[in-house]
């Protein structure tokens, strides 16, 4: 069955809509990207740009009000959206690990941490209770929790935020997944704890060779760990490329502005911060123009009438923009 040549994950034209009482929200609009095994892709974008919804759409973990209205998700060449319920459960349980945004609420408060880890092991690895327990302790140790056997019988509220996030990672890693999706795993944490977790993930990556999608809005984190970066804006991918290339050669005005607004801890201190004026658009309708155009200093008339498609700028780097930063002119596409 397995297509060895196919990428680990291949997403094409994914569209997700929320049906709300005050109308539809087009949270994800035609997202396409691919992920190779062992690769770490960082996804950045501001709040509400659709990062979480995209990832949730992949494994159909959306809330009830959401509907995937189009697109294709291939996991190792298998069509995820066409899977039966059982296959999907198997996929979620065995091959994909999720780490969610908020460690405080993502664990079930009434079950012990041990139970929440072993549950997955027993269901998907067919382990006995005792085996699962041993493995769970091993996993807790792996994510750097001391005295893991004892902590297995503790409840989530007895852990600190950083430790809970590590427990989430342990759960995600439980069945040696091929793909780990981490949704802002460190946003809620302090920098020193964030450093610990980043270190941990780097470490695990070396050991386990998983594909990782790492969502964040901290460009610094991405710069530190990612192989490739996806920049999202208003439910779309506006730019995508290898990390060094993207930081060295940002193509999209939004990416550029983002990098410019950031103050730094080292080096030159700018006198005044750059700002991006205006607000992201509301997602009530499917965009027919470039969603960034109203805030863009370089917008052309065409940007207001047509939504730019992604243009390859070489080196696996592409951008959804017609403005060419090198020339300051409209791209010839």
């Amino acid at each position: 069955m397995r297509d060895t040549t196919a990428p680990l994950l291949d997403v094409a034209g994914l569209k997700t809509v929320f049906h709300t009482r005050s109308g539809d929200v087009h949270a994800v609009n035609s997202i396409s990207f691919a992920l190779e095994a062992g690769e770490l892709v960082g996804v950045v974008g501001e709040s509400g740009s659709g990062k979480s919804v995209t990832m949730m759409s992949l494994m159909d973990l959306l809330p009830r009000s959401a509907e995937i209205v189009g697109g294709e998700v291939l996991f190792e060449g298998r069509d995820v959206r066409g899977m039966t319920r059982a296959e999907l459960l198997q996929l979620r349980g065995r091959d994909v690990g999720f780490v969610f945004q908020d460690p405080m609420t993502s664990l079930n408060p009434v079950f012990t941490v041990g139970r929440q880890i072993t549950e997955r092991l027993r269901k998907h690895m067919g382990m006995t209770k005792a085996e699962a327990k041993v493995r769970a302790a091993e996993l807790l140790g792996l994510v750097g929790i001391s005295d893991p056997e004892r902590r297995l019988s503790d409840y989530p509220h007895q852990f600190s935020g950083g430790m809970r996030q590590r427990v989430m990672i342990a759960i995600a890693l439980a069945c040696d997944p091929k793909l780990l999706i981490a949704d802002e795993p460190t946003t809620a944490l302090d920098v020193t704890i964030q450093a610990q977790i980043i270190e941990l993930v780097r470490d695990l990556r070396r050991k386990l060779d998983m594909g990782i999608i790492w969502i964040t809005h901290d460009l610094g984190v991405v710069a530190g760990i990612a192989d490739r970066v996806i920049v999202m804006y208003a439910g779309q991918i506006v730019e995508q490329g290898p990390v060094r290339d993207l930081f060295a050669r940002p193509q999209h005005p939004y990416t550029r502005a983002l990098l410019e607004t950031l103050p730094k801890v080292t080096g030159e201190r700018s006198e005044r911060l750059h700002t991006i004026e205006g607000q992201p658009p509301s997602l009530g309708d499917e965009p027919t123009s470039c969603p960034f155009a109203p805030r863009c200093a370089h917008a052309f008339a065409r940007c207001m009438t047509e939504n730019p498609f992604r243009v390859d700028v070489g080196g696996g780097h592409d951008v959804a923009c017609w403005w060419d930063p090198e020339t300051g002119e409209m791209r010839d596409v």
Partner: protein, 325 residues
């Protein structure tokens, strides 16, 4: 440097913990534990530290939103910590606060002009026309469209809401403003707008800020001096550039090294000091130096004696036994 506008001496804020059958006091959360520092006229003092280390508590105790357990806070020569209710009320206009969560700090049932006018109603005898005029003025000052005056907070974006909060804080022409993580809840693209606004206002109005944040890079951008807190205590206080280029305290060093930089080239080579373990609970701080449980340079003495916070180079204060050698 100019004279001190705010003098904080031995500021201590403990929250009692009650437990047991009779709800007796069994201990205290030492949220703020004996802080002493000055804030100069017209400067921005940055206060950084990890979550739960007592930054907000410090800010609130300085403004006497909490009654401090101990210590004194002089603002412009008046000891705020010991004023009675009515004198405190009279002293309020000169000190104001901007809050972390722009959504939570605005009453959802009041419209913008009511929110901004509230301090005016409390402290001035302006008639409603004068108040309206002043509200307009303030809205202009913080860059809010006057047409929004009768809108409700939920109709604004985060950055706009924070501007409303700032306008409210400015209404009474304060001298001193505590900014409690005013940008933490905002998106990167919006943070810059607010920070620039704060800077502009400081320049125009000669304000003094206590800028609380855990974003070290933003503090670097904004502050003139920076204080680093750990578990209820200031471990290091120094002028900005000195602190960032040459941190003395091991915690400051670790903190600075942990901040990721948005540049893959730098990141690839950056040396990080990874701290082990979690921050101890402020209810049960370790014996000796508070940082001794995680400090990479820990010595025996650190586990026994709490280091003194003192100035060991001009303008550079810290609390570490390493400095005492």
């Amino acid at each position: 440097m100019s004279e001190a506008l705010v003098e904080v001496r031995n500021l201590t804020m403990h929250f009692d913990i009650h437990a047991g059958i009779l709800r007796r006091k069994v201990g205290a959360v030492r949220a703020v534990d004996g802080l002493s520092f000055d804030i100069m006229q017209g400067e921005t003092l940055g206060l950084v530290g990890e979550s739960g280390c007592g930054k907000s508590t410090t800010g609130r105790a300085i403004l006497r939103l909490y009654d401090p357990t101990d210590g004194s806070v002089k603002i412009d020569g008046v000891d705020i910590a010991s004023l009675n209710t009515s004198d405190l009320r009279k002293a309020r206009p000169q000190m104001q606060m901007i809050f972390q969560d722009p959504q939570a700090s605005l009453n959802p049932r009041m419209n913008v002009s009511e929110i901004i006018a509230e301090p005016l109603r409390e402290h001035t005898k302006m008639d409603s026309a004068a108040r309206d005029a002043r509200v307009r003025e303030l809205m202009d000052a913080v860059g809010l469209n006057r047409a929004f005056a009768s809108r409700y907070p939920h109709e604004f974006s985060g950055g706009q809401r924070q501007r409303i909060g700032i306008a409210r804080a400015l209404a009474l022409n304060p001298k001193f403003i505590v900014c409690d993580e005013p940008i933490a809840a905002l998106d990167v693209s919006i943070q810059a707008q607010v920070v620039n606004l704060l800077e502009d206002l400081q320049r125009e109005l000669g304000l003094t800020y206590l800028f609380i944040s855990h974003d070290l890079s933003m503090v670097r951008h904004l502050a003139t001096r920076v204080a680093v807190m750990y578990l209820g205590k200031i471990v290091e206080l120094a002028p900005r550039d000195a602190l960032y280029s040459d941190p003395h305290h091991p915690y400051t060093q670790a903190l600075l090294s942990a901040v990721p930089v948005a540049d893959p080239e730098v990141e690839a080579t950056r040396k990080q000091i990874i701290l082990e373990g979690d921050v101890p609970s402020p209810a049960k701080p370790p014996e000796g130096c508070n940082f001794c449980t995680r400090c990479p340079k820990v010595m025996d003495i650190c586990r026994k004696v709490s280091p003194e916070f003192r100035e060991h180079a001009p303008g550079r204060f810290s609390a570490c036994h390493l400095m005492d050698e």
